[in-house]
Amino acid sequence: MTNETFTGHKGLQLEVPLLFEEGSYEKAGVDLPQPSGTKSRLGDQGAEHAPHLPAFTEPQAMRHFVRLSQKNYAIDMGIFPLGSCTMKHNPRLNEKMARLPGFADLHPLAPEKTAQGALALIHELQDWLCELTGMPAVAMSPKAGAHGELCGMMAIRAAIVAKGEEKTRTRVLVPESAHGTNPATAVQCGFTVDKLPGTEDGRVDLEAMKAKLGDDVAAIMVTNPNTCGLFERDIRAMADAVHEAGGYFYCDGANFNAIVGKARPGDLGVDAMHINLHKTFSTPHGGGGPGSGPTVLSDALAPFAPIPAVVKEGETFRLIEQEEGDFADSFGRMVAFHGQMGMFVRALSYMLSHGADGLRKVGEDSVLNANYVRVRLAEEMTQGYPGPCMHEALFSDKWLKDTGVGTLDFAKAMIDEGFHPMTMYFPLVVSGAMLIEPTETESKASLDEFCDSLLGLAKAAKAGETERFKNAPYFAPRSRLDETKAARQPKLRWVEPEEGAMAAE
């Protein structure tokens, strides 16, 4: 039996040409009324021809995109243990709610009176977020986690400007283990970045941090639980120290899932923290967004919150769209309109479903699941740092030493086992890092299958079965892709082949 087929398809594994190769310039998938031939008012700005883009009829479109979808791994198919990404189950009730015409078919500039329900929903979500974080205020407009970071750091910058210290407070302290967005955000706000070293047990080195504090420090940006999956046990001392030095504490809330319902950043001395609704509060990640990054603010920063904001006056909800009243000192607008309404509906749907009791269980089960995986895998793999973890378990590549198998190879072999790999080579403070976040929506049976498989692979690596790893994955829609070629000769769009070039190939 040959491995080749006449079509190039392999059973259920169907090859998909590009839209530009199978689409048509004659037929389309929409039927529209005839234009009436009204006189144009385009002046001299009208184009002579339609854009040169092909179309599908509806059945062709369905097939093209469904076939494409089948080349993706997804949380609905199995565990998606990307550390710091919180890939949990996305309830479909949330999708249904977000599509109610009262939300989905509502214009952002509709008169306030006609959008009271939407404003009321945002207001209720604000209450939930403030209560869950123990913070007095929340800015709803940030569009994603990194945008929330920008919001928090902009508020910090505005507070510093208000004190007349913008010329001197220019340095931001960021741990080596931080997400790349942290230093990038600080720089985008005009700050310089200074690295904070870690301790041997994977936390921020408090003494080293204190030594770096001074009247030129604007803020610290610390993730908690941190990117090693550990709770910063000195968090209050860190907050006190930075406050004493006249700076602010930005907390990266990417890992809030571990402590939701269990502990509140507001009780720990934090001044600002973004919340990824697409992580902790189950809005789908959508293959790269949309996200939503509401940012909670302390009393010290609340006056500088961005506009717009939703407030309640008596029984009426108002949208504050200019710098007035309580928002006179706002740092301004960071987005058109009012944030990710579609994500707000989904997140509130999720919060209402879980309630206070359920959300606490979310935090607990996410931590329990991670520790269970940690302990089981520690049989063969080396933990990044000793002791229990929060919602994600970190391993180094020490246990792979001399096997000829690296973290990347191991991860690619996981694909053949039917799993999405964990986060790799991050955080940077651990050699060949493997960061596993199972989330609370995995069952014990699912975790056992995952652990059994990884332990099997680990033993195989140690037994010298390098072939299983070196060219993995073998059973995916594609084998390893040439990323160097992609970067050296960037081909970022379809280009019509020259006449006859196809035949010559």
Binding site: L42, P51, K262, A336, M343
Partner: protein, 445 residues
């Protein structure tokens, strides 16, 4: 607890495996007095209870489809084929992460490549990225990109740039000490040219602009390039690209825009879809994800995220932007809708939208005291009313008509614009809607 699979027996067994007695032993690093706070929030609810709670909110809103509807200004109500929503709810698209493992994410990567190709073609540019949050943040990122390329620190914005976009640019640029200038927001005025000098990094021009006027991008580009400044063209109504000369064909350097109006619902302002297109020579200065074609180890075509040395997860404090998560699923909705229309279908939708707007303008021009200000427009135009437009919009809303966006909403407290009403139409606008608007407006003024 329908989303939590662990049973109590599982939990006990797992705690034993982990080697602790209670779950709180795993939270021992949390300060004792901060652990298990008393939350003043309700307990869990079943599915129909949640549905009831949220539906009550939804019912209090007047949806665009509930009556005659003429609002635009950066968010447009076009028809979205049923196929689009079905595809974007496929589990494999909806519940996937950013495609970091290309071997098992070719579905996402290939549609991103198709999306980039569509956006590049529509804008008339050489390359496009895999999306930004929305049009306004894409505009701010374009200004930052122009700053990197020109090493200059002054942004000039046309008066017809959507005021929210202008504010977002200002918020971002002023953080780093740059100068931001904007020409006055006056319908039809073209004062921006006098403001370009040898320190200008870029000129930001929207066309159709916020008042609906079509701008001559070619003329502006010529002047800007003569002073060494780049031109950023902003498109807030993506459907216009089906009927108008592309910004790229008029020589601009960067095109940014809002892609919502293709494939995506109004959603009260988000999630939306930022479009970002540029010239090939500037790709290493671009923000955001880029998807590129390559081959796998067996020589088969495949796609990967590429040129990531521009990005925060590699370059950290030297990245071109801090953006990470963007608008992947909204880009899919755009791609599916575009692939159903093709270039020809888009031109038809654009033509129908333009005709709806022309008919609306004709009907309103016949009303005493209502003045249409535009000499040119695509599907949106501005009228001057003899009284405050916000009051008129509110009174028409009482009658179930969303008449448009009043000047007072976009430029609060500014007298020159408070009698202005900006009116948009699309292929969904019916003759009966236009009649209803005209007769209500006649009565109101």
């Amino acid at each position: 607890m329908r989303y939590l699979p662990l049973t109590d027996a599982d939990r006990q067994a797992m705690l034993a495996t982990v080697g602790v007695e209670t779950i709180d032993d795993l939270f021992s690093d949390v300060p004792k007095d901060a652990l298990n706070p008393d939350l003043k929030l309700p307990d869990h609810k079943g599915e129909f209870e949640v549905e009831r709670h949220l539906s009550a909110y939804a019912k209090k809103n007047h949806a665009a489809g509930d009556g005659p509807f003429f609002a635009g200004c950066g968010a447009y109500r076009h028809h979205v084929p049923a196929t689009v929503d079905h595809i974007i709810q496929r589990s494999e698209f909806l519940t996937a992460y950013t495609p970091y493992q290309p071997e098992i994410a070719q579905g996402t990567l290939q549609y991103l490549f198709e999306f980039q190709s569509q956006v590049a073609e529509l804008t008339g540019m050489e390359v496009a990225n895999a999306s930004m949050y929305d049009g306004s943040t894409a505009t701010a990122e374009a200004a930052l990109m122009a700053r990197r390329i020109t090493k200059r620190n002054k942004v000039v914005m046309a008066g017809g740039l959507h005021p929210h976009y202008a504010e977002v640019v200002r918020t971002n640029e002023e953080l780093i000490g740059d100068t931001v200038l904007q020409a006055p927001a006056t319908p039809g005025a073209g004062a921006v040219l006098d403001m370009i000098d040898d320190e200008t990094s870029c000129v930001i021009v929207q066309s159709p602009d916020v008042f609906g006027f079509l701008r001559d991008l070619e003329g502006i580009t010529e002047k800007a390039h003569a002073r060494g400044a780049l031109v950023v063209a902003v498109v807030t109504e993506a459907v216009s690209l089906g009927l108008l000369k592309s910004p790229g064909s008029q020589g601009v350097d960067i095109v940014v825009g809002e892609g919502q109006s293709i494939g995506n619902a109004l959603n009260f302002g988000g999630p939306y879809l930022g479009l970002f297109a540029a010239r090939q020579k500037h790709i290493r200065h671009m923000p955001g994800r880029l998807c590129g074609e390559t081959v796998d180890a067996d020589g088969r075509r495949g796609f990967v995220l590429t040129l990531s040395t521009r990005e925060q997860h590699i370059r950290r404090d030297k990245a071109t932007s801090n953006i990470c998560t963007n608008s992947g699923l909204c880009a899919l909705a755009f791609t599916v809708h575009m692939s159903l229309m093709g270039g020809k279908g888009l031109r038809e939708v654009a033509t129908l939208s333009h005709e709806s707007a022309c008919k609306t303008a004709d009907a309103l021009e016949a009303i005493d005291g209502v003045e249409v200000l535009n000499d040119t427009f695509f599907n949106e135009f501005t009228v001057r009313l003899p009284k405050n437009a916000s009051q008129v919009v509110d009174s028409l809303a009482e009658q179930g008509i969303i008449a448009g966006v009043p000047g007072g909403r976009l430029w609060p407290g500014r007298e020159e614009t408070e009698n202005l009403l900006i009116i948009a139409a699309t292929e969904l606008t019916q003759d009966s809607d236009i009649k209803a608007l005209a007769s209500a407006l006649r009565a109101a003024v």
